[in-house]
Symmetry: D2
Subunit: 442 residues, 4 copies
Amino acid sequence: MEKGLKIAVIGGGSSYTPELVEGFINRHHELPVRELWLVDIPEGEEKLNIVGELARRMVIKAGIDMTIYLTLDRRQALAGADFVTTQFRVGLLAARQKDEAIPLKYGVIGQETNGPGGLFKALRTIPVILEITKDIEELCPEAWLVNFTNPAGMITEAVLRHSNIKKVVGLCNVPIGMKMDLAEVLGVEADRLEIQFAGLNHMVYGLDVFLDGISIKEKALAAASDPGKQMSMKNIAALGWEPDFIKGIGVLPCPYHRYYYKTDEMLAEELEAFETTGTRADVVKGVETELFDLYKNVELQTKPEQLEKRGGAYYSEAACSLINSIYNNKQDVQPVNTKNCGAIAGIPYDSAVEVNCIITKEGPKPITVGELPVAVRGLVQQIKSFERTAVEAAVSGDYYNALTAMAINPLVPSDTIAKYLLDDMLEAHKDYLPAFFHSEKA
Amino acid sequence: MEKGLKIAVIGGGSSYTPELVEGFINRHHELPVRELWLVDIPEGEEKLNIVGELARRMVIKAGIDMTIYLTLDRRQALAGADFVTTQFRVGLLAARQKDEAIPLKYGVIGQETNGPGGLFKALRTIPVILEITKDIEELCPEAWLVNFTNPAGMITEAVLRHSNIKKVVGLCNVPIGMKMDLAEVLGVEADRLEIQFAGLNHMVYGLDVFLDGISIKEKALAAASDPGKQMSMKNIAALGWEPDFIKGIGVLPCPYHRYYYKTDEMLAEELEAFETTGTRADVVKGVETELFDLYKNVELQTKPEQLEKRGGAYYSEAACSLINSIYNNKQDVQPVNTKNCGAIAGIPYDSAVEVNCIITKEGPKPITVGELPVAVRGLVQQIKSFERTAVEAAVSGDYYNALTAMAINPLVPSDTIAKYLLDDMLEAHKDYLPAFFHSEKA
Amino acid sequence: MEKGLKIAVIGGGSSYTPELVEGFINRHHELPVRELWLVDIPEGEEKLNIVGELARRMVIKAGIDMTIYLTLDRRQALAGADFVTTQFRVGLLAARQKDEAIPLKYGVIGQETNGPGGLFKALRTIPVILEITKDIEELCPEAWLVNFTNPAGMITEAVLRHSNIKKVVGLCNVPIGMKMDLAEVLGVEADRLEIQFAGLNHMVYGLDVFLDGISIKEKALAAASDPGKQMSMKNIAALGWEPDFIKGIGVLPCPYHRYYYKTDEMLAEELEAFETTGTRADVVKGVETELFDLYKNVELQTKPEQLEKRGGAYYSEAACSLINSIYNNKQDVQPVNTKNCGAIAGIPYDSAVEVNCIITKEGPKPITVGELPVAVRGLVQQIKSFERTAVEAAVSGDYYNALTAMAINPLVPSDTIAKYLLDDMLEAHKDYLPAFFHSEKA
Amino acid sequence: MEKGLKIAVIGGGSSYTPELVEGFINRHHELPVRELWLVDIPEGEEKLNIVGELARRMVIKAGIDMTIYLTLDRRQALAGADFVTTQFRVGLLAARQKDEAIPLKYGVIGQETNGPGGLFKALRTIPVILEITKDIEELCPEAWLVNFTNPAGMITEAVLRHSNIKKVVGLCNVPIGMKMDLAEVLGVEADRLEIQFAGLNHMVYGLDVFLDGISIKEKALAAASDPGKQMSMKNIAALGWEPDFIKGIGVLPCPYHRYYYKTDEMLAEELEAFETTGTRADVVKGVETELFDLYKNVELQTKPEQLEKRGGAYYSEAACSLINSIYNNKQDVQPVNTKNCGAIAGIPYDSAVEVNCIITKEGPKPITVGELPVAVRGLVQQIKSFERTAVEAAVSGDYYNALTAMAINPLVPSDTIAKYLLDDMLEAHKDYLPAFFHSEKA
Ligand SMILES: [Mn+2]
Ligand SMILES: [Mn+2]
Ligand SMILES: [Mn+2]
Ligand SMILES: [Mn+2]
């Protein structure tokens, strides 16, 4: 056991990497990461080197036994790895910019995870992740794949249904963010608070909220819909919830639920933001430039605080906690994306769900939820239908599947708009959608 | 067996009644209806008399042994009945007018069955139908309740979950209309055609289409989305389906699906219609006035052709066929609303579904459907969540339930609009919502 | 359509064949069988010729346009067939004799369908039926496979799970026999009676019984447990049911249920019969010899009455009715073995069940049953576990699977006896179990 | 929180009580039990006083702040309790003696939990436990009911389905015993070992076995079926498992499984034991007499070692651990009987299952199991059918239900024997079965 761990980070040139490195450093006493391989593609080589050098400085500063490897050779990084994390972006931020901007032309929210933008991110990303799972099967069959690449729910669904890999977990910082924000709003220490999470990625609800183990749901719902205390994420406008609605559904929504329960207001917000600051992708581009300028500074030996603006707060916390709990069989409770197996009634047995699990050496085991409240179940089921259709489209490259996914997405208001939007986006992302452009139609 | 049947028609003053009478006359050789009791409320007495007199003339003309009774005493009509049909409208057309007009103020489609209008129709109607089921329990416990009152799906759900009545069927003319229209578009005799119906009321799909028993699904889908041949109903604009979308979902939608898959276009259409001809309720009012003028004519001894404009085509066909098949244990296949019991996977076991059944003397038995196609399942599940929440609200009179139902309806674009709309409609329908106005809030 | 049908009968030399031929002759006006191919293996050639000649005489006598082909070449028979029926016996009656006799040595009922005997019949037969399905896929992919070979439930399960054939139906004469016997006991015409069948092959219950469409369940249960009127089959001792038990379970058991609900008495019966007349296989051998002597008689031009003693009464009725209803899209109700798809709650979605179906041109569609009564559900589920384990063993040739199937069978009283019995039977059937004797163990 | 806990022990005169007291003493630093109320019925007063005095001496010796109350007034004990434990025996050991001896007359194993004996224990006990739940509802509605009374599975099922109490847990020492025994056989420390338990009470399997979090299932199965190392319980003969069978089912059986998988051998064993030492009840009677003699000794201030012979080893461990983890929201993993909610697929959602749970302040939450292995699923489902039928019989007092439960029990070999046995046992237990002797039949 004491041989030390090898971890491969696909998309290692990401601006998030320093947070991950910090997480491994902080846990080094119980999580003996000896080799950290940062892999990227040629287009990302410059960033990889910048972030890799920072990582090395951080390790030196920490004075621990961990070696940082930088490489463009994915297979070398994977060989013999114990954990593989994925945090890459097919088509880079330019693609995200299109995912967000093109739908707005049609009066539709892009929503880069469960909306039309997310559909295209899935279409671009799923073929790549399935290639990676084949490499894992061959080069490190015992490794756990820990995926943060969005749309994390659909990617987990794709890996569960279309790969031979069993050891996969999808991760998101939304649940931990909800907990941290709620703790702040309630004025309590976060570690006294627990939330019973259940749903899908970016479509997760807090079914109950506990302080020191005792349900404080009503108080939490009141706080969450208090006009003066709206919680959200860096990348989602903190539009206020209608308190009576939150009382009615009786569960805590996640920030992304605003797209579905406040569609009109969110669209208005995004259109205005687009006019003024551009898409979220544009904003992120600026933040990234700023971050990499910081990272280049050879004096910098720790994760800079500005990284939090990036929207990925608590990312290290989620990822490193998970890896640590698997490695050490901690059996603590964490919300992750994993195979349902009946944990949430009404969602297919074989589908990915986001749900509280106990984390064991053999991976996450969902804690049984049973039936979701009637009022929220339908939306979760509808998004799962969308996700599954999108995954089928990504795997098949079938135009009609893709159109169906687009048209049934609740953010898309008609079959005709779906078709215009699909055709426009297919053309825009042509270079990253080989499966679609070898097929007949379109 | 030859004692003859007693049938009670709640809402007997409806303009539809002559079609029902015609249906019983046509089947009299095998369905011995001896007593037909038309019941209505005092506000409907004039119409009841007009339509009742016409019914009597029709029976005399037909020369059969059937007596028409007109009464305002529901209990007398129910006592010892074999079948009870319900086709009443709480609040009359004036209420429907509000169901359709108020949402348009907020840029929302009213949709008097599964939309905000349907929610309020359910809130007004469910308490009344549950009173009727109590009377049935007491006065004619062996009777079948055949409900056509909309929203038929939610009313069947309410009776299944909140009454002691087991013998209930919900009926709709949408499936038979789809079959007739498709036969016409395909140019074949309707009785050679069968459609495998499954879903919910006004949310039913044709999963497959058979001509002489052989699947012609692809041809049928092409015909259904042929821009030159759009099928619809009298009360739903025949906006054309996107052919590639229909090919993608691979099933035949019903006319009402346009509200969900063509929301923007349908809203535009309704807004324009509202400006020009008023709501559908306004149109129906005109048609009804015209119909009752015809009915008054003592020369009239048959159902007038103009009744078809009313939107209730094939209504007699559906209702009388069902009663006939139950009475005669015909074991033929008819699409009705009944308890799921696992026939459609992914919909609760105890919920109402609209599905092909074989019709036996012991009622409808659903033919097993299994899983709905992934792409359409989610919407059906979402509408079922809405329906169940609406039923709970109707039974409880709980403001927060009602708001939840409104906000999760896919036609309602935000929680805030839901609240404004709810409050406005609650006020408008106050007189017919006693449960809500005895409760604390609102 | 009027090209006429080609039917291939695998195991055409069976003594049952004349009944099948008679069935096709009787339905010739609506079921235009033009070619009837009787196929058998070389060991069965003599019987094939005898029965084939009788079939030809029957056809000539009937004066219809149907040609009988006799062949040892299965592929020739299958090429272009519209229906394939299977009624073969791997290892012939000698194998059945062992299936029944060896378990008795260990104080265990052999039960050639769901017991240890049935396990070995499955192990011998499933590899052969899967070969046949591969031929069907290649040579007549549109054909329906109608299987009567026992154990019909496990064989249908194997085809559903391990072949590419979708068009398969398993058939049994137990349900029709129950109906005929019950009609006789009740003194009513059989066609006025209907039974709601649900369960598994040879483990099917009548959940309700209708006379002219009206439930007479209590009367039927009383009749079925009347000590003076015990119904059974030719091959199952008509030991009387305990009337209070039948009243308690509230459903009609099938004759085979005696093995599970009267295990001790049936074992005693079988042991005694074994001492006196030998196994049922021995009896059948005698009957068969007698039958083939009759068949040889060139004067014989019709099915001889003695065939009924064979235990296959109403076999023609079940098989030809099914084929006729498929061909003519009759949509009548017949109990067959087909994929569950949720029709019976608590049984896997993909498993074979025996259940009332409407029979369409696209095959049988199960009528939804919902939950089986609690008291009978468990046994059905246990036998399904046994069946699935047995199918896995047959496909894998895995010794441990086979032992597991043997030990969990409710007729086998211990793991140790299971092992002795398994080893003994494996040795006895060695020649017909190639999969097991190429594997390592055993 | 620091008010201290009140615990009511129904059946406090049990010989097990000292172990429970010891458990509370050992955990007193984190589980502040201030009042321990031992309740019993008048027939048990003498034992109550003996064991109560011992408990007081133990507390004094431990020097902690806990008061022991002895009472025959259940309502006083319940008032304001935080936890209620139940460990009573309706009819005392004399009834158990009959449960075990009468079936042997018919050649049937009595099996006082899931067999015919267990059926009668359920019939006697369930009406009493339902009375207790009504008291709890009234007197301590926030209390947790922790039931050890056998048959714990059926009692939990009855409370879940027929009471208004939600806070109920069924407890058994079988899982912890399996773990301790396996640790010993494997020669490892028990706390390094975890077993994934799933099934029903006394019908629980170890689906997997982990050492330091890593699966060692194959090794564990080999050890469990090693002829030299057979594990069992004090009250179950340690007959050896067939190693190939254990390999075949691929899961760890519990000691009680011998009744179902080694029925013949266990029956032989019990018959022989009956001839020599009497039933297990007779043995226990002797042990109890001996124990109470020890308890009377005023010098005794700790739990005597002889208590372990009683068959209740680790009972304190299971009970006190559970209460402690609930009180302190420990979120550790413990196997208990609780509502399924989908944790084990194929078992009804609302039924009790025995399964690993995380134990929170809001009670146990099952860790999702998914599908049980096919080979063991059927027996679990069959026993659940038996349990549910038995519960219905206990609640209704219906003779036919009781007969059905008896006849479908897998240890009972025929409907006729079931009837004789039922009638005999009903008569023998007449005094404790008021529901049956007010009904008409029997
Ligand atoms: Mn995320
Ligand atoms: Mn309708
Ligand atoms: Mn059969
Ligand atoms: Mn126990």
